[in-house]
Symmetry: D2
Subunit: 130 residues, 4 copies
């Protein structure tokens, strides 16, 4: 009924860009998200979370994000089941991004992307009736 997740972390690798049979862009990457508390042994712990982005955003991600860059993702958690090569049912978890924000400073001297991408929320309040 409601499913909303926000993550901030760093890309473990460059994003991968593909296209569906009907030509829709999809980018995937993994975010390393450090936990706030350390393990019992005092090591830092990290969740590695797979992200999927669609369409224009997928292309922006592929163009402007790369390994090690800091990013924020706002989306929903999705769990897909599939059967592996041995016919075993497996589950895969991923976050379907609604918006991705680039948080690493633009490379100085770079051509400079706009500093955000994402689906627009609905409406202007320019002429509210109240």
């Amino acid at each position: 009924m409601l499913n909303r997740i926000v993550l901030i972390g760093r890309l473990t690798k460059d994003p991968e860009l593909r296209y569906t049979p009907n030509g829709v862009a999809v980018a995937t990457f993994t975010l390393a998200v450090d936990r706030m508390r350390k393990s019992a042994q005092g090591e830092r712990e990290t969740d590695f979370i797979n992200i999927v982005v669609w369409q224009k955003q997928a292309e922006n991600v592929a163009n402007y994000l790369s390994k090690g860059k800091l990013a924020a993702v706002d989306g929903r958690l999705q769990i897909r089941s599939y059967d592996d090569k041995d016919g075993q049912r497996r589950w895969m978890t991923e976050v379907v991004a609604e918006t991705v924000r680039f948080l690493s400073p633009k490379d100085s001297g770079g051509s400079g992307p706009t500093d955000f991408i994402g689906a627009e929320m609905e409406h202007s309040d320019d002429d509210l009736p109240f």
Copy 2:
């Protein structure tokens, strides 16, 4: 750069439905959101938060929500400034809902709304290329 809020609470009154000059539906209502901790004097405390919803959702809200009903709102926090009648600058805070979910059980015997409304997130994963 990123602005995301999720609230669950009860409507303090029936929602109000209006239309912009160009015919776009807008509904407004207030959610009473109880805080988890009580005040120093042991009283329960509550935040009263104004919500704005647009378009089709505005009409659904007007049709299916009413005073006392439980609802979840997912949106963004917005602060608008305006000048009051004395020419003083004031600020008003409201949450612009992206989705509103109805959490009170449908009235038994009622004709029964669908149990949710809201903007759709972007994409199907029916034919992922991986």
Copy 3:
């Protein structure tokens, strides 16, 4: 660096309550969270998401939640790796709840739990210095 998720859905079964070797309560359950958009074939789709809760909350969940009840969970997404019986590395995904709210109306005639449980946020503002 930041990892925050909010879910609303229904329990697929009664929660399970266990204790760690050192006596800390842990409850687990699965939330069925309907997606907003239907599949290409027009079926409703659902994510089944595993939830873990600790301590006092675990016991409240075990006492007051049961199969089919509506609940909201606020927490963080965690991915643990483990090796299955064939020595294969597997991942399991779960949401570690910080708070769980009970959204189904209390059974009429029931003894009535308090209608929420959860970790408290930090501070009162009773004597702010401004």
Copy 4:
């Protein structure tokens, strides 16, 4: 019943640090959070949102954040009413931060803060019973 907000933006000024009568640290600052869509006239729009942080975090914020720095805030929306000098009831809105993350790169050559601060979530899963 549930109230959760996540913001990313830049500090409009250096944070202010104060202490309650009983010696508890409180820091306040304002985050400039750009909206994703531009106004009808094509200008970028921004929400200026007041943030409050308590205790150890307040001191960290005062030490490591300053005007222009990028930060993420995770907390709850709070609305307090007060009476102004003319005896008029006014409302003020602020976000009570549970965690604040520093997103600007540490100044090269600086002494280097830890790169996050915040309340810890509850439990380790080092000895889960399952």
